[in-house]
């Protein structure tokens, strides 16, 4: 159980939330915003999360939006995986998040919580990275919209007192061909060896990875290599793997060499399907 004490707060508006965060900071309570909370309960018990006050954003109506508004899919950070899967408005996101956790846990894992999580995988961000998604950020100065790559680089990058409110994805992306595959050490439960999410836009494949390195990422150079028309798939894949720009994980799930092996046939399956050259 969690051995330290904290205050629980549930503001009803964005302003109330940011003001609350400021006053709690001034009282040295080291406040944290949250929507899902599973890392508070599971990492808090191991003292890997420590705080004097939690601010539950689920009281903000904006955090629960799941709607097409003016050509954009607006998704609140408080949407649970269960709700996202029930609506299935964003199929690539559905396919990715379904593998993140078991069915029951999905009721408590949220879009924002997973993207902003401490645990290295943050798989829900992969579809957002692939679709030029916008992030709505709230802070003391007010609300702003920024491209995902500006607020997320390996992990969420926000200033003190800021929090994510919503993600906005252009509707056009939702219909594009996609495929997300998660490979594990064994069976269908557990952390990833590699998770690869991809879509095809304007005949170009976009691809993002989690579990391969110690953070999720998308890389232009890798995409360029994988999109080389006229080069055999296997050759592209081999070249791409050699160009992975970050150290490949070697951990309890598997060695880095084995991860490369798994990645190579996962990429083969993805390219084969998205290039329209076969079925998986």
């Amino acid at each position: 159980m969690i051995s330290f004490d904290f205050e629980y707060h549930k503001p009803a508006s964005v302003e109330e939330a940011t003001h609350l965060h400021k006053s709690l900071r001034e009282l040295n309570k080291r406040p944290i915003y949250y929507t899902g909370g599973t890392e508070i309960t599971t990492l808090g018990r191991l003292n890997q999360v420590n705080t004097g006050a939690v601010i539950d954003l689920k009281g903000l109506p904006e955090c629960h939006t799941q709607e097409l508004i003016s050509g954009q899919l607006v998704m609140g950070v408080g949407l649970s995986f269960t709700r996202l899967l029930e609506s299935n408005i964003f199929p690539l996101l559905s396919q990715t998040i379904k593998e993140v956790a078991d069915h029951t846990a999905r009721s408590n894992i949220t879009l924002g919580g997973n993207v902003c999580g401490q645990i290295i995988y943050r798989e829900a961000v992969l579809p957002l990275l692939l679709t030029d998604t916008q992030a709505m950020v709230a802070g003391e100065a007010g609300v702003s919209h920024q491209p995902i790559h500006q607020v997320f680089n390996r992990q969420i990058q926000l200033k003190e007192g800021e929090f994510l409110v919503q993600f906005k994805t252009d509707e056009a992306y939702l219909q594009l061909p996609y495929l997300s595959i998660k490979k594990r050490k064994q069976g269908s439960i557990g952390y990833p060896l590699v998770t690869v999410a991809a879509l095809k836009k304007d005949n170009q494949i976009r691809i993002a990875f989690s579990g391969l390195c110690s953070f999720p990422f998308r890389d232009q150079k890798i995409e360029k290599i994988l999109n080389q028309n006229g080069v055999a798939l296997e050759a592209r894949i081999e070249q791409a793997i050699q160009q992975i720009p970050h150290p490949i994980l070697d951990d309890v799930e598997g060695t880095s060499e084995y991860r490369k092996f798994v990645l190579s046939h996962t990429l083969l399956d993805i390219l084969t399907v998205l290039k329209g050259e076969g079925h998986v």
Binding site: M1, R45, N47, I189, G190, V252
Partner: protein
């Protein structure tokens, strides 16, 4: 009537309504809470323990540190209950906080600062016996120990058991074909859903009350008494329903700490509850093994000789590890007639969490090694692997590795099991069948057997008390850990007394002061021992019923018959008395009363068990050998090296099915556990001996959907000494799963797979290493 019937277990309704209570469900307001502080190192000197910050936390009532004595351990007393001077495994308890609440205890525990001086880590059995290996137990020579364990001072060898049967020189001479294999796997975990939990309190007159989720409450009583020099009659241990044991809850560990904690706070009740991480690494684990087996046969496939070396990774302390390594020698091979056997089975200290009993007790481990060797031999011979087993099946008249002569009762029917398995698996259609260019179907099989290696004076008692309505209370020290054996005891009694089983009330909870002892709820011996105790108690009850009835009915007891809740004159059944008329003796119309509440008892001790000879291993450690044949069918992806277990088979000679659905459940559950152990369960250690996966999200047992189609069948060769001829099968479903899976995968992958777990990465790695068939 009831034998064979799928009677629903007595405690079923409690379990599906949330009413059933387990250790942590019991809570009293006056209870204090203990929190362990565990070692971050696998091998280190403890230089300093700074508790100054912890002491300031309000509500802290005591802080316990390790002491040089008592040292504990069931065979060798090598283990301080709380680490003293040095730590020997990652997770070892180093200190204990006792506080008013669990939160305060943990808060204080987080403030304890320990300074370690790391020592070189012994990270495998091979490392442990290498020249210049660091000594884990420098003082091995001076530890107290039981008579029949043989530690080797100035080494990391806690025990060595030898099997020397036949003439090895002649055996190798007669071997036209030989193979040799090397097998290895790390320790793993029981992962019962209920973690270990105990409470302890001491009354002003010195009675010690321990409540614990244990498979061995009577052993807790004996050991606590011995270790701390306390009169055993003043120790009362109680055990409620247990949420799974699988051998893990045989270990006596937390009870000792809880007792010490209670003593430190003047006898107040203290609860000690394991988090999942603590349960996995601080409390003892499933033993690991490094094995080398050489096996030889004649050119027509008759086994002639085998040389075996088992290096058991028993971890930092020997406790039950020495017994497991001995059991491994006692069986050492598969169920085959082999005249010439040379086996050295060593219990080896390493800086890993220490081992305790695990379902199968050395058999899943050794059968993995031996049955892989059998398959490799079959391949080299060019013989069908099932045919090789059939040809060599051990039979009545043959001798076991410890030279017990087998007969039609003390061993089951191996050929029958194999033949049934063959039919079920459709073995003759082939064992490696392509589905398409990428996927292949493959089958693997093996034979299994097991006897028990428990104390030669192990005993089990049953007391029956009658109620005024003629119903009976059945009291047995067997713990209900999920096997359903307590319900089977009621079935046995109901059958014997020819009465309605609903009139038999089984007490589920066990308390060592008022419930007769059942040695330990282990070894698949519940049915044999407690079942026989029931029958003897039943005989006693019948005798007493007839005695009272004979007075009232003015006849001889031998004229009477007991059935359907009545005692009646055999020849004139209309002359009878109901149980309720005599359950409390009998009162005549004039007021005279005879007899009293009927209290019947029965006791059973295994007969003629011996220790095994230190030089040859000859002896009789167990009453019988239960046998079987098992198989697995997989669908294997030749591109990705992944696979799916499609079907899993067990044919076991059960002697007599007592509760059909119950037996099926035990076998399938054990198969599932065996599949988990074989396919993915293993602790992952880094090079400093630190466990990388002490959580259920990184150590993943089988989940729903992983399960194959189970095909379970029984053969019935009675064990004459047992109730209705029945053999216990709590463990046997597990025994052959690793070997069968490895045999199937080795065929499918075209490479010898001799390590566990059988992950796709393991297969990929083996293929890269080029051990091509």
């Amino acid at each position: 009537m009831y034998i064979g019937a799928s009677l629903i277990r007595k405690e079923a309704l409690e379990k599906v309504t949330g009413v059933a209570k387990y250790m942590d469900d019991y809570h009293t307001v006056d209870m204090l809470h203990a929190q362990l502080i565990i070692s971050e190192y696998a091998h280190a000197h403890i230089q300093a323990i700074d508790t100054s910050e912890a002491q300031k936390v309000s509500g802290v009532r005591a802080i316990l540190l390790g002491q040089p004595s008592p040292l504990t351990g069931e065979e060798i007393r090598d283990r301080p209950p709380i680490a003293f001077d040095k730590v020997r495994y990652h997770g070892e308890p180093i200190a204990v906080i006792v506080a008013d609440t669990a939160v305060l205890a943990k808060r204080a525990a987080d403030l304890v600062h320990i300074t370690y001086k790391p020592l070189q880590v012994v990270n495998s059995p091979r490392d442990a016996i290498a020249a210049n290996a660091p000594l884990i137990h420098e003082n091995l020579a001076n530890y107290k120990r039981i008579e029949h364990v043989y530690p080797e001072p100035n080494t990391n060898i806690a025990d060595r058991t030898k099997i020397r049967k036949g003439n090895m020189e002649r055996g190798w001479e007669e071997s036209d074909v030989t193979v040799e294999g090397h097998y290895a796997f790390s320790p793993s975990d029981h992962a019962a859903m209920e973690t270990r939990c105990v409470t302890a309190s001491i009354s002003p007159d010195g009675y010690i009350h321990i409540a614990t989720t244990s498979q061995a409450p009577y052993m807790v009583k004996k050991l606590l008494g011995s270790y701390f020099d306390i009169e055993k009659g003043k120790i009362i241990v109680s055990t409620p329903l247990v949420g799974g044991g699988y051998g893990g809850k045989v270990a006596v560990q937390l009870e000792l700490i809880a007792y010490m904690a209670s003593k430190a706070v003047g006898g107040k009740p203290v609860k000690l509850y394991n988090s999942r991480e603590e349960d996995m690494i601080s409390s003892p684990v499933h033993i690991g093994l490094d094995a080398v087996i050489k096996l030889g046969c004649s050119k027509d496939g008759l086994l002639k000789a085998t040389q075996i070396k088992y290096l058991w990774d028993c971890g930092a302390y020997s406790d039950k590890g020495a017994t497991i390594s001995r059991a491994g020698a006692v069986t050492c091979t598969g169920p085959y007639d082999i005249e010439n056997i040379w086996c050295d089975s060593l219990c080896i200290y390493t800086n890993h969490p220490y081992a305790t009993a695990y379902r199968g007790f050395s058999h899943p481990e050794l059968l993995f090694a031996f049955e892989r060797t059998m398959d490799m031999l079959a391949e080299k011979l060019g013989m069908d692997p099932m045919e090789l087993r059939l040809k060599n099946a051990i039979l009545p008249g043959h001798k076991t590795p410890t030279q017990v002569v087998l007969n039609h009762s003390n061993v089951g029917n191996v050929p029958d099991c194999i033949n049934k398995l063959k039919r079920h698996m459709n073995w003759d259609e082939g064992q490696c069948i392509p589905i398409d260019s990428r996927f292949v179907r493959a089958k693997g099989m093996c034979c299994i057997w097991k006897t028990s290696t428990i104390d030669t004076n192990s005993t089990s008692g049953v007391v029956l008390t009658f109620n005024p309505d003629g119903s009976i209370n059945l009291l047995s020290g067997l713990v209900e850990i999920g096997t359903g054996t307590k319900t089977v005891l009621a079935q046995i009694l109901a059958e014997q007394l020819k009465m309605d089983v609903n009139q038999i009330h089984v007490r589920m909870e066990v308390d060592t002061q008022t419930t007769p002892e059942h040695w330990k709820t282990v070894a698949s011996r519940g049915t044999l021992m407690a079942g026989n105790a029931v029958l003897r108690a039943g005989d006693d009850a019948i005798r007493q019923l007839k005695n009272i009835a004979s007075h009232v009915l003015a006849c001889s007891p031998s004229d009477l018959e007991v059935a359907h809740g009545k005692v009646s004159v055999r020849e004139e059944p209309t002359t009878f008395l109901n149980f309720k008329d005599i359950a409390y003796g009998y009162q005549y119309p004039n007021g005279h009363a005879i007899g009293g509440q009927i209290l019947a008892r029965g006791n059973y001790t295994l007969r003629h068990l011996t220790h095994i000879d230190h030089e040859t291993g000859a002896g009789k450690p167990g009453p019988e050998w239960t046998v079987g044949a098992q198989g697995i069918e997989i669908e294997y992806d030749t591109r990705d090296y992944t696979y799916r277990i499609v079907k899993a088979y067990s044919v076991i000679d059960i002697g007599k099915v007592l509760n059909y659905k119950g037996a099926l459940g035990q076998v399938m559950g054990a198969m599932s556990m065996g599949i988990g152990f074989a396919s993915k369960e293993s602790f992952v250690f880094d090079d400093q001996g630190i466990v990388q996966n002490p959580q259920l999200r990184t150590y993943v047992p089988p989940h729903y959907g992983d399960h194959p189609q189970y095909i379970v069948d029984f053969v019935e060769t009675p064990h004459i000494d047992a109730p209705f001829g029945a053999r216990g099968v709590g463990e046997h479903g597990l025994l052959g799963m690793p070997a069968a899976l490895a045999n199937a995968l080795s065929k499918a992958a075209g490479v010898q797979l001799n390590s566990l777990p059988l992950l796709p990465e393991t297969i990929w790695s083996a293929k890269k290493a080029g051990e091509v068939r």
